[in-house]
Structures are given as structure tokens and as C-alpha cells.
């Protein structure tokens, strides 16, 4: 009975899918046509659309766009009815048009002034991606103050440092969780005065002498509009290109976070250049789901959104991001490599459960795509037959797959932050998604180098972005000078001087070189992590780690070897990938720790490392970095335990100190090691886990002139 039902459902599904495919083809035809038209009017012939007006700014006109409030005013008058911010609330996408956004933000700014925000104040903003939160960033600037967005998963002590450092008098918080954190530390904050919250849930009984509901604040702003509007206008007029636009705290792989001061010129010129580079315009849309405290999100969701008047879309909750992505179908998309990685992993896993026919089609057409897909995307010569096959593949596999992932409409996609695995990168590009890499940092207002359309290589980060100069120092460190280069580190002239020289050159802290073949920049590692081994050969841990992390089974790894004779590695397995593998191979496990210690798992990881050793051995400069021994850690490296930054970069120093017993065991030749580690649970409680870890030796490849260990 159940089986028959299943079959019926499968038939129905097939029918629906066929219909979808046909409509997809028709849609494709139509979009092809519209793409054609777009291309025609993108040519530099005189045209009257809004976009050209933005792109051909005279310097006078640009001066009218010197701050986010100015841009908001322009958008509200030029595109009053176009969507500015959307959010899924109560299951429905709710929209603020630009005109509405201006009203909401103006009221917020009036309310802030009435509450006592003065010009030059710092106002911290903590919350998830929501229109009101994004709006408040601009409202703060409108009121003449400086917004300081914070990471919402920061624990109270981390927040305390930042709030104290910037001397925030006002904090805008998203919900009770954030409010509680601020209230917990309020006694340590001598400058703190008022807390404004967005979601009133659970806070009815709180003492409201210093607490304010954001909507009530807007109301009181509206009521006071007559008397305060003049003040507001003069504060907006007082904005110049040199006024601080935002202060962002870098997560800092070492030491305390630093406040990076970015002025209006940094943000607006960077956004302008980036918009022009990729031809973004008001019809584009973006899914905003990355932390608001991250510079990328500020540039994409605020800077670029305001400059090009493109709409941003906030997911319903952190868990619904993938389905919201599918509903919105953004045309401009940014995701760190791990998001693409998990997308590919889920595609691969789900294809394994698909019917044989589907699997066959998938394999055949994906193989075809990997052969010609990128050339078609880049506009290179491809035979007519291959094009035809690709077209069929598009109808049968690529388009439905892109649709399922929510990437159907992506016109410009970026990834950055970490190296992306070539297979992952090629997978998405071969399906016709214009995925590119960029290289940047907070201090540069994101953009240092970008890959132009048609010149995309998985192992480079592209050419210098518009208006950016890049040079490589003797030591191999990359320096840049650009309009986006930050003003200073707040209250820290020494570290400013260390990073930025008087001529405006900023040290990135990354070592890299320009690829002689294509002139693109290649980043090897953090400059300070690049070290020498005892025999004098170069040690670049990230180079090896990235190669290892390209295997879906390996989530994270840390390679040791600075000042040593051989390289060793810690590995974190990816529970989703390895767990699925274990299920298919009848390997029982009850916990992460048990799976991580399973001999079969160790064997698989050993195989991966062997393969990487072969690849590493081919690189003349870095062949000494082959991994000789490894162990699989009994816990996942976690930001809550201080082992990673909030942006998920490993903190080498912390790890090598915390797990010094394990490092020692790797080097002294032991076959296993007992260890006990303190962990912090999500609710802040601490506990201990202990384990005996097996250490395995790995085959290495002999390199001419060197003798390998085994």
C-alpha cells in the first residue's frame, strides 16, 4: 500500500518536473531575449535609463552623494516605488520601498536626536539581518553619529570590550537575547546611557528607564519632527567625504579586536567602483544573511545597495536562509567558500539518493559541463555540437539544479575570505553561474583585487580593483593603496602606523605574488604564518590546509611545522559528510568523538593526506610542507572556545598552546595520546571531554635533493 502510494507520488513528481523543465526552457528563451536587449542598451550609446545617470557622475553630482543619508534621499526621490529592503515576516515577504525606507529611517533618526544622540557619538548596533537594523545603521549616521555594528553571537565579555573601547552611549539591539547581554555588562560601561530594542518579546517587565522600543522611538521622533527636522537637516548637510561613516571591529586572529574607522569616501567610492565594475543597478537584488558587523555585508548590503539602489532581502531566520535564497533568487550573491562547499556536498549527497536515470543524466551532463561550461560562460570558442549538448544539459540538469539551489538568477556571484576548492569553484561555474573571487579586508573597505568577468581562475584572486594600486614587498607581503583604505584604527595610532604608511600604503599581512602567466594576484598565506623549517625550506601552513580542506570529509585542519624538521597536522572531520559515508558503509557511531576516532575514518583521512602530499611535492618552493603524521581531533574547533575567530579562521597560536600535549605527541613518535580538553557549551557552561587519540604516519613523496621520512 505504502509502496504503491510512493510510486504514484513519484510519477506525479516526474510529471511535474517535466512540466517545470519545459517551462524552464521557455523561460530561458525569453530571458535570452531580454539579455540580448540588455546587452544592446549596455553599449555606451546615449540612453536614458536611471543606471546611466548614476554611472556618469560629474564631480559636482558625486558630491551630492557624499554620505548614506544623501544616497537615501536620492533613491527615495528617483526610485520611490522600487523595493529597498525586504524581509520575510510571518511567512510573507514584506517590502520597504525606498520612499518608505526614507520615512522609517528619518523617523528613527529624529527619535535618536530626541533621545540625546549628539554628533560624533558612537552607537553600537547588534542584531540579525533585518530592515530595521540596516535602517538604524543609516539613521545613526543621519543623526550625525557613527554606527558600530557588532557580531550578534559575541559573548557578553567580548561585547563589553568593544562597547567600552568605542564609548558607546547608545546601543540598538535586535531582541531580548542581545538586550540581556548588554544589561549584564552595563555596570562596566561608564559611557552607556540608553538601550533601544527592536523585538519587544519577553521584555514587557524590564525596567524601561533606560530601555526604549525602537518603534516607540520612531513615533516620538515623528511627533517631534517639527522642532527637530531643521537640526536633522543640518546634521546631514554637515556630512562630508571625510566624515566617519562606520566603525567596524576586526575579529583579529591575534589580540584584542581593533576598531577600523571608515569614512564616507572609503565606503561610497568603494561601493561606486564595485557597482560600476559589475554593472549593478536598481533592478538587482541581494540576499543579506551574513553578520552585519562584517565589512563585506556593510559594503554589499548598505554601501552598494544605497549606491546602486539595489534591493536587499533579509531571511526569516538563520535556519531558513537556503529556502529564502530560493524564494528570492538574488541576482547578486556573496557567500564564503564554505557555503558553496556545503551546497555542493548536499547536492552530491542527495544525488546519491536519486534514481538511476537521474544519476546517469547528472553524471553525463556534469561531465560535459566541466569540459565546456566554463568556456561557454567566458565566451570562448566552443563547437556547435558541444553547445547543443550543453543546451540540453541546461534544460535537463543545470537549470533545475540552479533553481533548486536558488542560484537561477545570479548574474554576479562572489566568494572570498578563504581559498575555494577548484572542484567546488568549477562545479558552480560550469553550470553557468558567474562565480568570481575577490580579495579584500576590512581595512580596504573590502576590495583589493577582483576577478573581472571572463578572467576567472580558481587559484588566483584577480587583478587590482578599480582605483586600487597593489605592490608586493621584498618579504612577499602584499601592500595596497586605494580610496577605500581605512582612516585609522580607533584610539590606536601605533597600530595604525604599523599598518598604514604616510604615503597611504596599507600592509595586508598576507604573502602573495602576481602570477606571471595571467597577471593575477595569488595569495599563499598570512605573512606572519609563512615561516622557515629547520632545513631552511619555506613553510606555508595555509597552503597545505586549503588543499586538505578541499576534501569534503575534512572540515578544518591545522598544520604545524614552523621551526621543525617535519610537518604534522590536526584534522577536524566534517560530521555531515563523514556521517553520511559511515551510514553507507555500515559504520555505527554515537557521537562526533566516536566517529572521529574510528579506524576506518582515520584510514580515509590518511588517504586524503597522501594525495595532498603528492600535490604538494610538485611545488618546488613548498615541497617541504608534506604532512608526515596526523591525528583527528576529538572536538570541533569552535569560536566559543577561542580556537577560531568569529569568521571561522583558525587561531594557530591558541590551538598550539591549548593542545600542546598533542603537538608534542605528534613530534615524539607516540602511537596514541590521551588528552582532556575544556569546552564551552552554547549556554556558556563549561565541561570537559577526554579522549585517547590515535596518531597515524602518512606516506610522503621523496623530492629530488631531499630524503623523505618513509
Amino acid at each position: 500500500m505504502k509502496h504503491a502510494k510512493k510510486q504514484g507520488a513519484a510519477q506525479k513528481k516526474l510529471l511535474i518536473e517535466t512540466i517545470c523543465k519545459i517551462s524552464e526552457i521557455i523561460k530561458k528563451r525569453l530571458s535570452r531575449k531580454s539579455m540580448f536587449e540588455q546587452k544592446r542598451w549596455q553599449k555606451p550609446q546615449p540612453c536614458s535609463q536611471g543606471r546611466i545617470n548614476i554611472l556618469t557622475q560629474t564631480s559636482q553630482a558625486l558630491d551630492d552623494l557624499r554620505s548614506l543619508p544623501h544616497l537615501l534621499r536620492r533613491n527615495a526621490s528617483r526610485f520611490p516605488d522600487r523595493p529597498a529592503l525586504r524581509e520575510k515576516e510571518l511567512g510573507i515577504w514584506q517590502t520597504w520601498t525606498w520612499a518608505q525606507a526614507e520615512r522609517e529611517i528619518t523617523n528613527m533618526a529624529l527619535g535618536l536626536i530626541e533621545l540625546g544622540v549628539k554628533e560624533g557619538d558612537y552607537v553600537a548596533v547588534i542584531g540579525r539581518n533585518r530592515p530595521y537594523i540596516y535602517g538604524s545603521l543609516v539613521a545613526v549616521q543621519m543623526a550625525g553619529a557613527v554606527p558600530v555594528p557588532l557580531y550578534q553571537d559575541a559573548v557578553a565579555e567580548e561585547m563589553s570590550y568593544v562597547l567600552e573601547h568605542c564609548g558607546a552611549r547608545f546601543v540598538i539591539a535586535g531582541d531580548q537575547e542581545q538586550v540581556d547581554k548588554v544589561l549584564e555588562i552595563q555596570d562596566d560601561l561608564k559611557d552607556f546611557e540608553h538601550l533601544i530594542y527592536l523585538d519587544p518579546r519577553g521584555m514587557r517587565k524590564y525596567d524601561h528607564s533606560r530601555l526604549h522600543d525602537l518603534r516607540a522611538l520612531q513615533q516620538s521622533g515623528l511627533v517631534a519632527a517639527d522642532s527637530l527636522q531643521k537640526e536633522l537637516d543640518s546634521r546631514v548637510e554637515a556630512q562630508t567625504f571625510e566624515t566617519t561613516c562606520v566603525m567596524l571591529y576586526t575579529s583579529g586572529t591575534t589580540g584584542k579586536p581593533k576598531g577600523v574607522v571608515l569614512n564616507n569616501r572609503n565606503i561610497i567610492i568603494s561601493a561606486k567602483n564595485a557597482c560600476e565594475f559589475d554593472g549593478l543597478k536598481e533592478t538587482d537584488s541581494l540576499l543579506s544573511y551574513l553578520p552585519i558587523a562584517w565589512v563585506g555585508d556593510f559594503i554589499f548590503s548598505v554601501g552598494q545597495s544605497y549606491y546602486a539602489a539595489l534591493s536587499i532581502n533579509c531571511p526569516e531566520s538563520q535556519e531558513t536562509v537556503l529556502s529564502d535564497l530560493r524564494e528570492i533568487g538574488p541576482s547578486y550573491y556573496f557567500a564564503p567558500p564554505r557555503v558553496f562547499e556545503s551546497m555542493l556536498t548536499s547536492v552530491v549527497l542527495r544525488m546519491q539518493d536519486a534514481s538511476r536515470i537521474k544519476q546517469g543524466l547528472y553524471r553525463y551532463f556534469m561531465a560535459h559541463a566541466s569540459r565546456v561550461g566554463q568556456d561557454i560562460l567566458d565566451g570562448n570558442a566552443v563547437s556547435a555540437l558541444d553547445r547543443l549538448t550543453y543546451l540540453i544539459g541546461d534544460a535537463v540538469i543545470y537549470s533545475p539544479l540552479k533553481n533548486a539551489l536558488g542560484l537561477s538568477r545570479v548574474r554576479v556571484g562572489y566568494t572570498a575570505g578563504e581559498a575555494i576548492g577548484p572542484e567546488i569553484f568549477d562545479f558552480f561555474r560550469s553550470m553557468g553561474i558567474n562565480l568570481k573571487q575577490l580579495y579584500g579586508q576590512t581595512e580596504a573597505s573590502v576590495f583589493v583585487t577582483v576577478q573581472p568577468d571572463g578572467q576567472v581562475y580558481s587559484d588566483t584572486v584577480g587583478v587590482p580593483a578599480p582605483d586600487v594600486e597593489v605592490k608586493i614587498a621584498e618579504s612577499g607581503e602584499v601592500f595596497y593603496r586605494s580610496p577605500g583604505a581605512f582612516v585609522e584604527y580607533y584610539k590606536s595610532p601605533e597600530s595604525t602606523a604599523e599598518t598604514k604608511d604616510p604615503e597611504g600604503w596599507v600592509a595586508t599581512g598576507d604573502a602573495g605574488f602576481f602570477d606571471p602567466d595571467n597577471g593575477h594576484l595569488r595569495i599563499i598565506d598570512r605573512a606572519k604564518d609563512v615561516a622557515k623549517m629547520t632545513d631552511g625550506s619555506m613553510f606555508a601552513p595555509k597552503y597545505v590546509e586549503n588543499k586538505l580542506k578541499f576534501y569534503p570529509n575534512i572540515l578544518e585542519c591545522v598544520v604545524f611545522g614552523a621551526g621543525r624538521d617535519r610537518c604534522m597536522a590536526f584534522v577536524n572531520i566534517d560530521l555531515a559528510a563523514v556521517g553520511n559515508w559511515a551510514e553507507r558503509n555500515n559504520i555505527a557511531y554515537s557521537s562526533y568523538q566516536e566517529l572521529a576516532g574510528h579506524p576506518e575514518v582515520l584510514r580515509v583521512i590518511e588517504g586524503h593526506i597522501e594525495e595532498v602530499n603528492v600535490k604538494v611535492a610538485q611545488d618546488a618552493m613548498l615541497s617541504g610542507c608534506q604532512v608526515h603524521r596526523f591525528l583527528v581531533l576529538h572536538k570541533e574547533l569552535d569560536a566559543d572556545d577561542g580556537e577560531m575567530t568569529r569568521t571561522r579562521k583558525v587561531r594557530r597560536k591558541v590551538i598550539s598552546e591549548k593542545f600542546s600535549d598533542l603537538v608534542e605527541a605528534l613530534y615524539n613518535g607516540a602511537q596514541d595520546v590521551f588528552t582532556e580538553t575544556e569546552v564551552t557549551y552554547e549556554d556558556g557552561r563549561k565541561g570537559k571531554i577526554s579522549a585517547t587519540l590515535e596518531i597515524r604516519d602518512v606516506k610522503t613523496v621523496a623530492v629530488s635533493g631531499r630524503i623523505a621520512a618513509e
Binding site: 515576516e89 510571518l90 511567512g91 510573507i92 518579546r201 519577553g202 514587557r204 517587565k205 526569516e316 531566520s317 535556519e319 531558513t320 529556502s323 549556554d683
Partner: protein, 272 residues
Amino acid sequence: MLDSQVTQTTADGRKIGGVMMEMKNITLRFGGVVAIKDISFDILEGEIRAIIGPNGAGKSSMLNVISGFYHPQDGEVWFHGKKRPAVKPYEVARQGIARTFQNIALFEGMTVLDNVMTGRLTQMKSGVFQQALWWGAAEREELENREICEKVIDFLEIQSIRKTPVARLPYGLKKRVELARALASEPKLLLLDEPMAGMNVEEKEDMSRFILDVNDEFGTTIALIEHDMGVVMDLSDRVVVMDYGRKIGDGTPDEVRNNQAVIDAYLGVSHD
């Protein structure tokens, strides 16, 4: 909000009103088995009232009496100051009493949203045919109901599983969906039958938070059966203790904790 006058305020600032439901000398028999024997207690408006007791004490039977599923042979149920005749459970539900079940009773093949929407059923006025045509009043009503359900979904933070069939959900989430369905009917009195049974510590903490939030945010009166003593003592304002169908204790968590009869029932008494 409370119907009657506020008579007391708890330490954490919640308002508790007059008597909402009163059980008077309830006796329930199944043939020769006496499940509940001459029990009386009341539930005040706005409070969290726990019913505890060892296995087989008659707790679930008591809840079923409140919800109108069982009709006691003796005794009276008074609700909002009126004696309640022996009515069908759906009529009780219409009066504003909703419940969750010890063994989850959801429609497994339906999505979370559809399950939650069924919680609105007792509130619907339009008939089957109007609903089928989905026109005029029926459409308006459905939209209103959907909005209420969406608010509940938002409140319980289950947006990400809105369209997921219930059968695919883990146990802890199913429990939460059951709570959502009960809340969708905007009850005055919410009956929870072992809301934390079989949950891990984290899920229990989440559930406790939701129960407190429901009580706090909507002023819903809650009667719950629970085995986890920590949870009961933390959550409830007053506790009824049952053993072998009899009431052996009634009072605040502290009073109950120090009640000798309760201690004996839970820990056993030596017979020498």
C-alpha cells in the same frame, strides 16, 4: 488578558487572578478500578499549575477530565464560575481549553503549517462548502487564521520547518509543533501532558522557556503534568500531588517539597 480581577502578583511580576477552574470532589471509575478518588483543587487565572505524582497516580486521567474526554462519576467541574455539564471534548475546546498529548498526536503526513492550522478549526465559522469554494467570508477567515498561526510559528521559532511534513521531524520538534497547534486556538487554559518527556537537557530548557513565555506573553493559564521535578519546581506556581488516585499534597513548590506524605509517596516508606 485576565477576565477577573487581579488578586495577586508573583515575585517575577506576573499577574494572577481569581479561580478559573475548580474541580469539586471528582471521582472517576473504570469498572472496578478507581482512577481518581474524591479530588478537589482549583486553577487560578494566569498561573502555572502542575500535577505530579508517581506512575499510575491518575494524572493523565485528571487532565482528561478537565478536557472533557472523561466524565467523572461523581463530582463537579466548574469553569469560569459555572458548573460544566457533561460535554463533548470539542465543546470544551471551543470554551478555550487546548491540550497537548503525552504521546504525540499530530497528523504525520501533513506539514507543520497544516497541523498548526487545524488548531484553528474550533474557531472557524464558515461551513465545509464555503471553505471548499474558498470565497468571501471563508477566504477572509482563512487569512485571519493563517496570520494567527504564523504568529505562533514565529513565537515558537519553527519557521524553518513550516513546510516540512511532521513525519520527518525529530521528537523534540514534534512536541513543539503540538504546542503550536494548541496555541493556535488561542486558549485561555492550556493543558500540557508531559511536555518534556523524552527530551534532552537542551530541548527541556527550550520547552521550559516557551512555556514561561506563553504564560507571560499571552497570559495563558497552564496546567501541566510533568515528571522532571526540577522543571516542575522551577516553572509552576502551585503543585497538586497525586498518588493512587488520591490527592496527597497541594501548595507552592516549596510546601510540596517539604510535605511528608509527598516524600513518602516518591521515596517509599519502610514497613517495619
